[in-house]
Amino acid sequence: MKLHHVVLVLSLSVVATIAVASTAAIGERQQVMKSNGAATKSIMGMLKGEAPFDLPTVQKALATYQENTTKFVTLFPEDSKTGEKTSASPKIWEDMAGFLAANEKFKADAKAASIAIVDEASFKSTMPNVVKNNCGSCHEAWRIKDAQ
């Protein structure tokens, strides 16, 4: 194999690695969001009075939010702006500081709630704000759903 072949193969593999890396990031952040959705599902029934209050389930959901926010911010490399039907808004990369701050707020709110919630009454007074002030407002600013 001549030298320029080696260079070609090497550069191709670098390109392939980058492609794999960004695809993986998009897939992973979609998984994180699914996990957030599942956690939310486990508590919304209780909030509406459709399911009995269960403190361990609530605490587990809040722990999931905190783990997920920690992971989430690592999943937006420069090369993951498009592809894989991502719903990430280009604004994330235009204002990364703002995006990180929104993520950090969610994490802090979830952590504060995990300390504040000790019974059903504190759950009903604290939890709605965690959900209301984070899920919708973050999607409002940072997500755009495109055609499939």
Partner: protein, 309 residues
């Protein structure tokens, strides 16, 4: 001057006059003539408050950058392919808002898209939907707005691209596209269905975002509510007819619930402009949200584009 030249001259004058008349802001009255409604009773601010929420007035008219959503100073830029619109001040301020308006002027604005000085509003103000409101309901909204704090200051003028920058063209646009009258109840449908239709097609103006538009920016009627490109930028707005590309798999309770807390049946939280819409629909009653859901589920399914999960 020979005869042919004279005829041509007369003809040209006629064409110019006809063109001027057809682009008149009220030319549509000559053809439809239903714009001169008057309220039949005094305004009811409580009903006005409900309709004000259903109409999402604050979403465009809240003061740019203000924390209090009931400061209606306007000015929050709305970017579209036609240019940037700056919604006006509709607070009861006598100088910069609508404090000195009469009831008739308000009805004309909201139902006909005509300002007190006779100029037409651009259809970014969804009077094509508000047109379905009864004059009494319109006046209830007006009465409610007058209870809110006056805000001074006028937002900038719209910054539009040619030819949309010619406001006179809107007269012709209205002639072509401003149709419809007050939505009257249909006796072969339930009370909820009728209420839902009034909220969805009238004051809620759902179709204004959830429908594709033609090159002139008018909703394509046979595709109404089946979703379309997002005029504010990237992405698509979802189909909300009961097609499999839309709400086929959703129950009425699912739809009513989304309008209350913003969550889809998968516990995804709606984003984009819909997050703001949910802030408004969250203020409605459960009965009204369910009525909207019942009406939407009763619509004929229309195929639209699937969105990414």
């Amino acid at each position: 001057m020979n005869l042919a030249t004279r005829l041509l001259l007369v003809f040209s004058v006629f064409v110019i006059a006809a063109g001027y008349w057809l682009t008149d802001f009220d030319a549509h009255f000559a053809f439809r003539g239903d714009g001169r409604w008057k309220p039949t009773r005094a305004g009811d601010p409580a009903n006005g408050k409900v309709l004000f929420a259903a109409g999402g007035c604050v979403s465009c008219h809240a003061s740019s950058g203000a924390d209090d959503r009931l400061h209606l100073g306007g000015g929050k830029p709305l970017k579209t392919p036609f240019g940037t619109f700056y919604p006006p001040n509709i607070s009861p301020d006598p100088k910069d808002g609508i404090g000195r308006w009469t009831e008739t002027q308000f009805i004309r604005a909201i139902r006909d898209g005509t300002a007190p000085d006779g100029r037409p509003y651009y259809p970014s103000f969804p009077y094509t939907s508000y047109r379905h409101l009864s004059p009494d309901d319109a006046i209830d909204i007006f009465t409610y707005i007058r209870t809110l704090p006056p805000v001074s200051g006028k937002p900038p003028n719209h910054d539009l691209t040619f030819p949309f920058s010619i406001r006179r063209g809107v007269g012709l646009w209205k002639l072509a596209f401003l149709d419809g009258s007050v939505i009257e109840p249909e006796s072969n449908h339930s009370e909820s269905w009728n209420r839902g239709r009034y909220l969805v097609d009238g004051v809620g103006h759902c179709a204004e975002c959830h429908s594709p538009r033609n090159f002139m920016g008018a909703i394509i009627d046979e595709k109404r509510l089946s979703g379309g490109p997002n005029l504010e930028g990237k992405g698509i707005v979802p189909n909300i007819t009961p097609d499999k590309t839309g709400l086929a798999a959703w129950s009425e309770a699912d739809i009513a619930n989304l309008l209350k807390d913003g969550f889809t049946p998968d516990f995804d939280s709606v984003g984009g402009s819909m997050a703001e819409v949910v802030r408004n629909t969250a203020e409605l009653s459960d009965v009204d949200r369910m009525a909207m859901a019942i009406y939407l589920k009763s619509l004929p399914p229309i195929q639209g584009q699937m969105r990414s999960k």
